[in-house]
Symmetry: D2
Subunit: 140 residues, 4 copies
Amino acid sequence: MSDHPPPDDEDLTDVVRELYDVPFHRANDVEVVAATPERARLRWPYDESLIGNPAVGAVHGGVISSLADVAGAAPHVGALGDYTPTIDLRVDYIAHATGGDLVAEAEAQRRGGSIGVSDVTVYAGDERVAVGRGVYKLSE
Amino acid sequence: MSDHPPPDDEDLTDVVRELYDVPFHRANDVEVVAATPERARLRWPYDESLIGNPAVGAVHGGVISSLADVAGAAPHVGALGDYTPTIDLRVDYIAHATGGDLVAEAEAQRRGGSIGVSDVTVYAGDERVAVGRGVYKLSE
Amino acid sequence: MSDHPPPDDEDLTDVVRELYDVPFHRANDVEVVAATPERARLRWPYDESLIGNPAVGAVHGGVISSLADVAGAAPHVGALGDYTPTIDLRVDYIAHATGGDLVAEAEAQRRGGSIGVSDVTVYAGDERVAVGRGVYKLSE
Amino acid sequence: MSDHPPPDDEDLTDVVRELYDVPFHRANDVEVVAATPERARLRWPYDESLIGNPAVGAVHGGVISSLADVAGAAPHVGALGDYTPTIDLRVDYIAHATGGDLVAEAEAQRRGGSIGVSDVTVYAGDERVAVGRGVYKLSE
């Protein structure tokens, strides 16, 4: 965090849970496990309806990019107490996600007056399946 | 297309539809409108369960990135007759998606022996809401 | 341009030239051919010292990404009359640059209060060698 | 490294130095400090001709993206013993580079038959000024 280093131990889990209680997350049981101004962990439970590649039984890449997006936003959303529209997102896929529930670990890399940046790693079970980086808008 | 320019008028819609008949697409009614080796159009019908930002009634960014991902893959999937795992995806969000069904227009930019690249524009109704670029793996 | 459509015909070439008269551009003879609030064209003359891959005689990828970066910033720099730090840049390489002077064509895609986005295409002679997208910071 | 974990302690510094002895690197005194199949460190010495933003005395963003590009390629170039054309590169800028020589630390994240992926962090002196991710082509 180069700009506004906030206290790392401030628990924002309830703040983010409330803001993330939206239809898309409810429909998919996306869970905010924990959030601070510095990092967040989110879980998207495995379900057969998430399969995108039946040949190998892999979860759809869109599920992974969706989870990366919201996990990356979570520390900023919590710190701001408001939604932070995504400016851009890059996801690099590393392995097929065939290993159960998806868990994303996000770490805020930067938070200034106008933008926030986060790095995210997505796991399927124990396996790292993707890494991502999101840039989020913090003000108009 | 810098490498293997295929005939633009070859209709691959049925090929892509069959390969895209996967649980995640069925669960979301994602439709392959049309596909050739050069371009594809896909539609994701609007539904209230897709809302990610209730403050402005906007569709979740993850829906948009998911649609960009599969639309970008479609010309390559069709040309190859097989799944093309996503290597990386970048999505730049332009406007809130508050305007109805999502439609993605993909254009293949490059197809070599090992990778394919596509540009995608995502619309909500008439409004352009995001642009993306995906890189896809065409061989082991 | 989704936010602040400026007049397309405003000639900002002199404004950008003055702001781009910096040591790195002078050392490399980078030239601002033309700039408006909507688009810009820049040229980086070919020189043997730019070679990065002697096996095929191709210009270094870093030259191409550098040119994409500053070309993408140019419309925003002109409209703002000030430097616009790059938030992030993605470059997709399409072909080896073996064809002479490099020319970048940039088109502003979005300009809001806090960020600007541009698409860039880089040519070596007549051949399109790369496409890029840059996000630039317009305010603190 | 998900695909072909090579021995981490194999010293490829000489291999990479020889392949990186190209005009663009010589013209800029870019130095391969060290390289293995897993990681690499490169240095680009500070020089006033690298300034891109005279208002704050910052090195040009293109210098940083160039260094990120070649540092990310280095572990793959070494492992392969050949050039690995860049497929795409993303750079996220974190702070102005006003602190002296630039040093890039690259870590290979993946190396398969057709592509390699690396993460790179660029420092100016002690300060982290950018992070990047490159995807490189390992075969035709």
